[in-house]
Each structure stands twice: as C-alpha cells, then as structure tokens.
C-alpha cells in the first residue's frame, strides 16, 4: 500500500500517471511461484489524498482517488472504479479500499502451501485468487523450494462487508491478520472454513477475544454484528470461523482445545429431562469417551427433534 498526500501533478496525462505491471507469466514455474504467477502486483493499492492538478490533467482528476491493479477477480466489482487500459489499472473513488495481509504462524510456514486462496465478497462474483511469496531462496543454480505462506489481498471494507477466504490447501493452525487502510470506519467480516472439527480462537493484543454469546434463536453462537475488531464466533459442525477485522488492527488465530459438536436424539424433551437431562447426558458421554465430565460443556438443548449442542 502506497500513500500519497498533497501531491501536485503539472501537465501530467491521465494515461501517464501510473502503470501497474501484470504478474510475469514466466513466474509460473516450480522454482518461483508454482502453478501460477505470484499475485502481489495484482493487489497493490495507491491512495492519493489532497492532490492538485495543473495544466493538462486527466478527465477524472479529483483531489482524492485510488489506483488499483487490473485484477479481474476484484477491480470490476467495485462500483466506483473505472478501468484505464493505458495504465493497466483502475482509477477509483472509494476511500474504504485497503490491503488485507495474512500469514501462517505455524512451524511449517515456509514448507507447506495453502494456495491458491480465493477471497470472495458475499453478494458479488468477486474471486481474488492469491498466491504466496515467490521462492527467493536460491543456492546457486537451484531454488530452495522454500516459500513463505504470506498473502496480500486488495479488499473493500464498506460497512456490512463479508468475505469468504477459501483455502484450497489446509489452512494453517495459527495465523496472523492485518488490514491496512486509511479509512477509520472500514472493516470486514472474514469467514474461513476448516476441514477439521477443532475449534479456533481469536487473539488480540495477547488476549483471547471471547466468542459472541449463544443465541437461542439461532441455536448457535450469535452472528457477527461488526461491533469491534476481533468479534468472532466458531460455527460448530460446519467448522467455520467468522471474525471481524478493522483497519490497522492485528488479529491472530490459534487452535482452541475444543471440539464443538451437535447431537441429535430421537427423544422428547420431557423424556430427556426426566432421565437426568444434561447431567446424565454428560456422564454417559464422558464415560463412553473415557474423559472427565468437566471437559464437556452443554451450551444448548432444544427441540427439533431433540438436539444437544456440546463443546
């Protein structure tokens, strides 16, 4: 992300204001980026604030604007962005553009691939395909086959934005997230689907941010209201982590030593509680698993047929 303030453009043609290169197709090889070119050039963001134009000027000249890459998976879906063929870029008037950075914090951060990762905004056809860092570890003629699982994605964080991050590889257990942006009010809910049942926690400033309160109406943890950076919930069974991130806020994901599950029983509520209810259920469950009863928590019992949601 590159920020310009109080820039002055004197006799600068609109077509000459910038040029953003496409990723080199030649990067798509085992030694550099793998099956497809690295994607950093497609996710750059130039922001211009309080600019002044004199003499000949672009027809779109305005004090505040942004320039983003010709990223077919992102730029066409931002209403205020117009393509500029000569710049190989889009010119925008959207203050809530930013760059989402995230990386693996696992021990195998340089050895295991998670890409391609698709960043998609719900309600649009957006699909920004991300690759990780290029392999720069050269030992003479050979590459090191070491690539950092670090990703940058252009993002638009207007109120209500919800993005799905679809990992085609297994997501890292521990991850770091940061959203860079100039707007204080920008933010987005991010959703990550995990292939396993292990729950996840969000950590902010070294402290675990508790999940939203249980919602009896939804029969799961309350939905993300975008109230503060770090607001989160883990949707059990579906194994989806949802969290809200705002501009210039750093969050970490770490495994939560818990499995959230849902048990459906052919039983009436009356029969269930007449037979000991949640206490007996926990006793029987823990006895069969060979674990202590304190390790199971029932967060809700509801009819539907009879369902007990446990952690």
């Amino acid at each position: 992300m590159v920020e310009f303030y109080d820039s002055k453009f004197i006799d600068v043609d609109g077509d000459a204001l910038s040029y953003i290169m496409d990723p080199n197709p030649g990067w798509a090889n085992v030694k550099d980026c793998g099956n497809f070119p690295c994607t950093a050039p497609l996710n750059v963001l130039f922001t211009f604030t309080d600019s002044i134009f004199e003499g000949s000027r672009p027809r779109w000249a305005t004090p505040d604007f942004q320039i983003i890459a010709n990223n077919s998976g992102f730029a066409p879906y931002i209403d205020s962005c117009e393509p500029s063929e000569d710049m190989n870029a889009y010119v925008c008037e959207e203050e809530k553009l930013g760059v989402l950075l995230f990386e693996s914090e696992d021990d195998d951060m340089k050895d295991r691939s998670m890409q391609p990762i698709y960043v998609s905004k719900q309600g649009t056809e957006m699909s920004n395909k991300l690759n990780s860092m290029m392999d720069h570890v050269w030992d003479g003629f050979y590459s090191g086959q070491i690539r950092m699982s670090r990703f940058g994605s252009i993002i638009e964080g207007s109120r209500g934005s919800v993005y799905d991050l679809t990992f085609t590889g297994t997501p890292a257990k521990k991850m770091r997230f940061l959203m860079n942006g100039l707007s204080r009010t920008m933010g987005a809910t991010l959703r990550i689907a995990y292939p396993g049942a292990e729950s996840r926690s969000i950590v902010k400033d070294g402290t675990i941010v508790e999940m939203n309160q249980w919602d009896e109406g939804l029969s799961q943890y309350g939905e993300i209201k975008q109230r503060f950076c770090g607001e989160n919930r883990y949707i059990g069974v579906q194994n989806i982590l949802e969290f809200y991130i705002t501009a210039n806020c750093t969050l970490h994901i770490q495994p939560r030593d818990a499995i959230q599950t849902l048990v459906r029983m052919e039983w009436t509520m009356a029969e269930f509680f007449a037979d000991g209810g949640t206490t007996s259920f926990v006793d029987r469950l823990t006895a069969s698993l060979g674990i202590h009863a304190s390790q199971v928590k029932i967060v809700s019992v509801y009819e539907g047929s009879l369902v007990a949601t446990t952690t």
């Binding site: 590159v2 820039s7 004197i10 077509d15 204001l17 000569d86």
Partner: protein, 124 residues
C-alpha cells in the same frame, strides 16, 4: 535510474531531491526481518520534484542519437526480509533494484508534497 537506496533499517526518508528524465524512477527499499518487521517500517519520500519530458528530447532532429524508453517518476518502493550485497557475485543479483527476497510484513510507503511535471503517454 534515479536515486535508489537499500537500507537495513526500519525507516528511510528521501526529501528535497530533483529527478529529471529517469528511466526507472526513484525510491527506496528496506531490509527488515524478524520481530522488527512487525513493529512497522516506513519509506517516506517528500518535497521532491520529478520531471518527465524536458526540452532535451530523446530523439533530436539532427539524428545524432535516439534513445526512447519508458520513463518513470517513482518506482514502487518496498521492504524485504533480506537483501543482496553491494557487490553482486552472481548474475541473478542484477539489476540492483530487484531485491529478490520475501517481502516484509509491515512495509508502508508514504509520500508528501511531491511534484510531478510533464509526464506524457509517449516519450518525446
């Protein structure tokens, strides 16, 4: 190219410089890794004047020479985890502005009060 620096530090500032007729533009790269990279790093270019086309043409009418290149005022700056030595020892180390290392976590480039003069779609 214009002035370019590569520094093992968390912040660099280029200011009150004048660049004329540059092919690759100017800017800076930082070398910063480990815990320091997460504390933030900054490249600041401010109060510079950057000229594109000038009275000196790239192809004078007398035909004495003609060297037409794309011209850039700024080249995008960046921060990386490692760098190359001042004296490249292998062919892949060139050109110097290509650092060839993993990009750092937190590099930010801020530019204040820079002036750009006479950049055209095609060079003269």
């Amino acid at each position: 190219m214009g002035a370019w620096g590569f520094f093992p530090t968390s912040e660099v500032r280029f200011h009150h410089m004048t660049m004329i007729d540059n092919r690759e533009g100017f800017g800076a790269s930082l070398e910063i890794s480990g815990a320091a990279a997460y504390e933030g790093s900054l490249i600041m270019l401010m109060d510079n004047k950057i000229y594109g086309e000038t009275e000196v043409t790239d192809c004078p009418e007398d035909g004495s020479y003609c060297k037409v290149f794309d011209k850039s005022g700024f080249l995008m700056s960046g921060a990386s985890e490692h760098g190359k030595s001042l004296m490249p020892q292998m062919s892949s180390a060139l050109p110097m502005y290509k650092i060839k290392s993993i990009g750092s976590w937190g590099g930010v480039q801020r530019n204040y009060r820079n002036e750009f003069y006479n950049f055209k779609k095609t060079t003269a």
